[in-house]
C-alpha cells in the first residue's frame, strides 16, 4: 500500500524533511493579526485552519514591485539577476491553486515572461484542503477540486491524506519518512456546483455584460476607488512599468509594479485623455476582465471564488450580485 498518510504527530518532522527541497513558506499570522504567506521557522508558526490570506500568493510570482531592467550607458538595457531560491509554498487552498493555474496561462503561454517563469520554476506548490466561510464560493466556481499542485494534503481524521500532482511532487514525497500507510482511500472530492456558479458560467458563455443593470450605478456611487478588491485578487495581474534614473545621472532602473484597473490613471493615454474616466467604466472593465477574459484568455472566467474581494471591500460591493439578478 502507498505511503500517503501524514499523521498529525508526524507533521513537524514532515516540515523538517521538506526543508531539504527549499525554504518553506506558509500561512501565518503577522504581528498585526493579518493572515499572510511568510517564511516558516517551525510548525507552530503555521495556521493550518486559516481561511484566506489578505495578499494572495501571486506575490511570489510577480512581487508588488520588482526590477525589470537595468540601464547603464555603454551596456544599454539588461535584465537584473533574479534571486530564485527554491521555495516550498505550503498550505495553498484550492482557490489559490486555481488562481496560480490561471496566472500560468497568462504569463507562460503565448509570449512567456522569463521573470515569471524563473520564479514559477522555483516554486513547489503544496495544497491544503479548507472549509468555506460566508465570503467564499470556490465550490460554486468549481475550483474546490485542487489543480496545479505538486502535493496536496486533504485533512482527514488524525492527519492528512497526501496526493502527488506532478513529477516533482512524486520525487519529494517518495523520500519522506514522515509518511505512513493510511486509510484505504480518501473520500473523493466533488465539485459542488451551485446556482450562482451556473449563472456565472452561462453569463460568461453568452458574453453577458448586464449593460442595463441598475447595479452599475449603485456600485459606482458607493465605490471609493481604493483598489482593494483588485489588490487582494489572486488572479488580478494588471502591471504598470516605470523607470527611474539613479542619482549618478547615468544609470537607471525599470521596475514593474502592481497596478489597479479601478484607479483613474489606468485608462489614461499620453496627453491626459482618459478612456475610463468614470468609476462605472472602470468597474465594467474589471467585470469584463474577471468574468469574460481579455485577448487570448477570452472566455476564461478568472474568478476563483476565494472571497477576498467580498471580504475586503469597505463599502460591501459584490460583483456577484450581478449574476443573482432576475433574468
Amino acid at each position: 500500500m502507498a505511503k500517503d498518510f501524514l499523521a498529525n504527530e508526524s507533521f513537524q518532522s514532515f516540515l523538517e524533511e521538506l526543508t531539504q527541497f527549499g525554504a518553506i513558506h506558509g500561512p501565518t499570522l503577522t504581528e498585526d493579526g493579518v493572515p499572510a504567506f511568510t517564511t516558516i521557522a517551525s510548525s507552530s508558526d503555521l495556521r493550518l485552519d486559516y481561511r484566506r490570506t489578505l495578499i494572495p500568493p501571486k506575490k511570489y510570482l510577480f512581487p508588488p514591485r520588482t526590477p525589470l531592467l537595468n540601464f547603464a550607458p555603454g551596456c544599454g538595457y539588461s535584465r537584473p539577476v533574479v534571486a530564485t531560491g527554491e521555495i516550498i509554498l505550503f498550505g495553498l487552498h484550492p482557490c489559490d491553486l486555481a488562481a496560480i493555474s490561471y496566472l500560468d496561462r497568462v504569463f507562460t503561454q503565448d509570449r512567456p515572461d522569463p521573470l515569471y517563469r524563473a520564479r514559477r520554476n522555483a516554486l513547489t506548490l503544496i495544497g491544503l484542503s479548507c472549509e468555506a466561510d460566508e465570503f467564499c464560493f470556490c465550490g460554486e466556481m468549481g475550483t474546490d477540486v485542487p489543480v496545479n499542485f505538486d502535493i496536496y494534503l486533504e485533512k482527514v481524521e488524525g492527519g492528512f491524506c497526501l496526493r502527488q500532482g506532478s513529477p516533482r511532487g512524486k520525487t519529494i514525497s517518495s523520500g519522506l519518512s514522515s509518511l505512513s500507510e493510511g486509510p484505504e482511500t480518501a473520500a473523493p472530492l466533488q465539485t459542488r456546483m451551485a446556482k450562482v456558479a451556473d449563472r456565472i458560467r452561462k453569463a460568461a458563455e453568452r458574453q453577458e455584460t448586464f449593460p442595463k443593470s441598475p447595479l452599475w450605478d449603485d456600485f459606482a456611487d458607493r465605490c471609493l476607488s481604493c483598489g482593494a478588491c483588485s489588490l487582494c485578487c489572486p488572479t488580478c495581474y494588471c502591471l504598470d512599468i516605470r523607470e527611474y534614473g539613479d542619482l549618478d545621472g547615468r544609470t537607471a532602473q525599470r521596475i514593474q509594479e502592481w497596478d489597479n484597473c479601478l484607479f483613474k490613471s489606468h485608462g489614461e493615454i499620453a496627453g491626459g485623455y482618459n478612456f475610463r474616466k468614470t468609476r462605472q467604466e472602470r468597474f465594467r472593465y474589471r467585470f469584463i476582465h474577471k468574468y469574460l477574459g481579455f485577448g487570448p484568455l477570452r472566455g476564461v472566467v478568472s474568478c476563483v471564488g476565494c472571497g477576498r474581494c467580498r471580504e475586503v471591500c469597505p463599502v460591501k460591493i459584490d460583483l456577484q450580485e450581478l449574476f443573482q439578478q432576475e433574468d
Binding site: L69, F71, P73, G76, Y77, S78, R79, V106, F107, D110, R111, D113, P114, Q207, T209, P211, Y237, C238, L239, D240, I241, R242, E243, Y244, G245, D246, A252, R254, D259, C261, H266, G267, E268, I269, A270, G271, Y273, F275, R276, E281, R284, Y285, I288, H289, L292, G293, F294, G295, P296, R298
Partner: protein, 282 residues
Amino acid sequence: MPVDQMTNIPSPAEIVEIKPISGDTALFRLRLMNEEAARDFTFVPGQFVQVSAPAAGEAPFSPLNPPGNDGALELCVRKVGHVTSQLHKARQGDVVGIRGPFGTGFPIAEMAGKDILLLAGGLGIVPLHSLLCHLLEQRDAYGSITLMYGAREPSALLLRDELRELACRRDMRLMLTVDFAAEESACEPSCNIGLLPDLLRGVPITADNCYAAVCGPPALYRCIIGELQGLGFSDRRILLSLERRMKCGLGRCAHCAVGQLLCCIDGPVFRYSDLKTIEGAL
C-alpha cells in the same frame, strides 16, 4: 537574434537626426545599432514599436515610414508626456532603446486591388503616412488613393515639404483641411477650412471597392464613422488605428484592453465591425 532581445529587452538605437516639424513635434531618425537586429527589423504599416528613453521609460510609437533594409526608422514625437519630453531633450548621437514591432497593422494584402481612402487627423498622419508610402511603392497593386488630412491650424500640419510633393503627384489625390486659419496666414500647401467630415462630403467616393483607413483623436472617429457608413462603406472595410496606454506590448500588462480585445496584440489597427459593439472603444 534571440527572441528575448527586441521583445523583452530594448535594443540600442542611435539618434541619427532630430528635425523639428512643428511647435511641439519633432521627427526622429533612429538606427538600430545591433547588426542582426538592424538586418531583421521589419514591420507592417500600422504596427508600433516601444521606444525607451533611459531614466524616463517607454512609450509606443507607430513609425512614419515603412521599414528599409538598413535598420533605420523614423518617428514623429510630440512632446506631451514624461517619455516624449525626455526624447525632446535628447541630441543627435544619443542612444535610445527599441522593442518591437508589436501588434496588428493594416491588412495590406487584403487591401490590394482596392481603392484606398486615408483619413488622418493631427498626429494620426504618422501611421497613415507609413501606409501611404507602402501603397505608393506598390502603386500598381492598388486602385485610386486619396489622403485627407486635417489639422488644427496651418502651422500644425506635419510633413509640409512632403505634402507639397504629394500634392503634385498625379497618381493620388491629396486634400488638406484646417479647423481655422487666420486670414493673413499663408496657407501653403493650399488647404480647406473645416473639419474632415466636411471635406469628405464634398468628394465623390465609390465605397463599393474601397477601404477607409482612419487615424486621429477619438473625436474624429466618433464623427467620421457615420459619414463613411452613409457613403456605403461596410463596417469591416473601415480600419481604425486606436491609441491606448500600451505598457508591455505583449498582451500581458492588461492596460490596453478595448472590450475583450487587446490593443497591443489584436490592434492597434481594428476593423470597425470588431469595435462597434464595444462600449468606450472610440
